[in-house]
């Protein structure tokens, strides 16, 4: 069953190099709006590199090179985009919760403030809305002045999601967002990701195949820098086309 959603990211013939090392080889992939796309594969397969090239986070690393094209709504993000504008549209949640060492309120208000929003009443609304959307409002509403680092790991990660939502991106990239969390916190984040799907396009890297199965619409399997298989999640897990995919999901390697 092919979905009717429009294409958000279109990746064509993409190669990625760290110096002389080729981390991604000829990737072709379409990421659709309001879907959750999961990227799976063993460590070092290039899935994180791929994710981080979608908001040009790899620009921060010296000596990297991207070839081919990645377009967002038809515009090439490496040629025709200011990287700051791109990152405002494509937010990111990281593997390790990384709240800034400041209050919960200031964490969430950070992005809006960068964009020139100064009025307290407006900021208050954004903070509440973002924290509610990240399903953590009830837990922190009484101490928004508390340092975000004092929260538990799961709470910190939801603060980071709220912080990303506060700048109203269209796409959210998640790099193993639950790998540092306990099972209960993981479930909460998964529920949240399912909620967010209504309003956002989500691309998530995960080491956990059950997680990919539970939350994603589409799954891409990477191996040694190549995209081996990309299809509906149900199909990929129940009836993989490629032998390598089958070996991986049945636990024969990786």
């Amino acid at each position: 069953m092919e979905t009717k959603n429009s294409v958000k990211f279109k990746i064509e013939n993409m190669d990625f190099h760290y110096g002389d090392f080729q981390a991604l080889k000829n990737i072709n992939l379409e990421i659709k709006e309001n879907e959750i796309t999961a990227l799976i594969g063993p460590s070092g397969c290039g899935k994180s590199t791929f994710l981080r090239s979608l908001n040009r986070m790899n620009d921060l690393i010296e000596n990297t090179k991207v070839d081919g094209s990645i377009t967002l709504d038809g515009v090439d993000i490496y040629k025709d985009y200011d990287v700051i504008d791109l990152r405002l549209r494509v937010g990111m949640v990281f593997q390790k919760p990384n709240p800034f060492p400041m209050s919960i309120y200031d964490n969430i208000a950070y992005g809006p403030r960068l964009n020139g929003i100064r009025k307290k009443s407006v900021l208050d609304k954004i903070v509440e809305k973002s924290l509610r959307a990240a399903a953590i409002w009830d837990e922190v509403k009484d101490d928004l002045k508390k340092n975000a680092l004092a929260l538990s790991g799961g709470q910190q990660q939801r603060i980071c999601i709220a912080r990303t939502l506060a700048v109203e991106p269209e796409v959210i990239l998640m790099d193993e967002p639950t790998s540092a969390l306990d099972p209960i916190a993981t479930l909460k984040i998964e529920d949240l990701i399912n909620e967010l799907k209504k309003d956002y396009t989500i691309v998530i890297v995960t080491h956990n195949m059950q997680q990919a199965g539970r939350i994603s619409d589409k799954t891409a399997f990477f191996l040694m820098g190549e995209l081996i298989e990309f299809s509906e999640t149900d199909k990929l897990f129940s009836n993989p086309e490629n032998k390598k995919t089958e070996d991986y999901i049945t636990g024969r390697f990786g």
């Binding site: 700051i84 937010g91 990281f94 950070y110």
Partner: protein
């Protein structure tokens, strides 16, 4: 088998000796500190027997007057504070900006070249700085400030500031570089520019180290001797004008140890009183630095 066992036994016997040995070595520095404080307090007590505490905080400093000498240390305190404040006005902004540049804007390769060059400033003998202040900076400043005295506090203050830039830069840069990469990525991921990331995220995250670097730089400035001895004069008049000469606490000690006051006189013992005062100043600064580091420290 046997040889191995012997080796292990020798190692474990050494292991028992090592803590005692290290303790003995560490005690040397602790005992030295105690000795210094002891000497200061004992000799300063001779001074305080004859001079009331209230006199110290007066403005009249005339230690060598044969009839009724006066020991108001306020001119010295003023000299020390003024030169230190001027030094910090130079060192804090320049040192901090250099640290931000090194930590966030420059490629690692370039940083490895630049940082030692900045730290080189700290290796120049202070007498060279003093000479530089007196023979170069003061004449230069006179072009803009005609009323500037040949000896003044402005010029040595500025030069002292240059001297302590590496303290601010090096420690602040360490603190900023120690902020985890994930925090930096979080800021960039929200669309921050490099400058926004540096000023709004990295600097607040590293603030304890930055403030500590300031405090340590101040205590270095307070204790600095050679530059002020050469370039700020030995005037004991109380003044607040930075274009006039002032004597600092350290310069006063230099003047009196070089033999102006006979041993055992009250003027001689005043040295120790000033020394004690200086010690209290820098001790407070160091304690303040410790407190700040502890209070604002962030664990990631």
């Amino acid at each position: 088998m046997e040889r191995i066992t012997k080796k292990v036994r020798l190692g474990s016997r050494l292991e028992k000796l090592v803590p005692g040995l290290l303790l003995a070595i560490a005690s040397i520095s602790i005992l030295t500190s105690i000795g210094i404080v002891f000497t200061l307090v004992v000799d300063a007590s001779h001074f305080f027997k004859e001079v009331p505490l209230s006199e110290i905080f007066s403005k009249e400093l005339a230690p060598l007057r044969s009839k009724d000498p006066s020991f108001g240390f306020l001119p010295l305190i003023m000299g020390t504070l003024t030169t230190s404040v001027i030094a910090m006005l130079v060192a804090a902004p320049i040192g901090l900006m250099a640290a931000m540049y090194l930590s966030e804007f420059v490629k690692p390769k370039m940083r490895r070249i630049l940082k030692p060059i900045i730290e080189l400033l700290a290796g120049i003998p202070t007498i060279v700085y003093g000479f530089f202040a007196y023979n170069f900076v003061t004449p230069l400043l006179m072009k803009w400030i005609p009323d500037l005295g040949a000896k003044n506090v402005l010029s040595p203050g500025i030069v002292m500031g240059i001297m302590i830039i590496p303290i601010v830069t090096s420690l602040s840069e360490d603190a900023m570089s120690a902020v985890p990469k994930v925090i930096r990525e979080g800021a960039y991921g929200l669309g921050s520019t490099r400058l926004e990331t540096t000023v709004k995220v990295i600097l607040p995250a590293a603030i304890s180290g930055v403030i500590a670097s300031f405090v340590l730089a101040i205590s270095r400035a307070i204790g600095e001797t050679m530059i002020v001895t050469i370039a700020s004069g030995s005037s004991k008049q109380f003044t607040t004008s930075i274009i006039e000469p002032m004597q600092t606490m350290t310069a006063y000690i230099v003047e009196f140890t070089s033999g102006d006051a006979g041993s055992g006189t009250i003027g001689y013992y005043s040295l120790y009183a000033v020394g004690l005062l200086l010690f209290v100043f820098t001790l407070c600064m160091n304690l303040l630095a410790k407190y700040i580091i502890k209070k604002y420290r962030r664990e990631y």
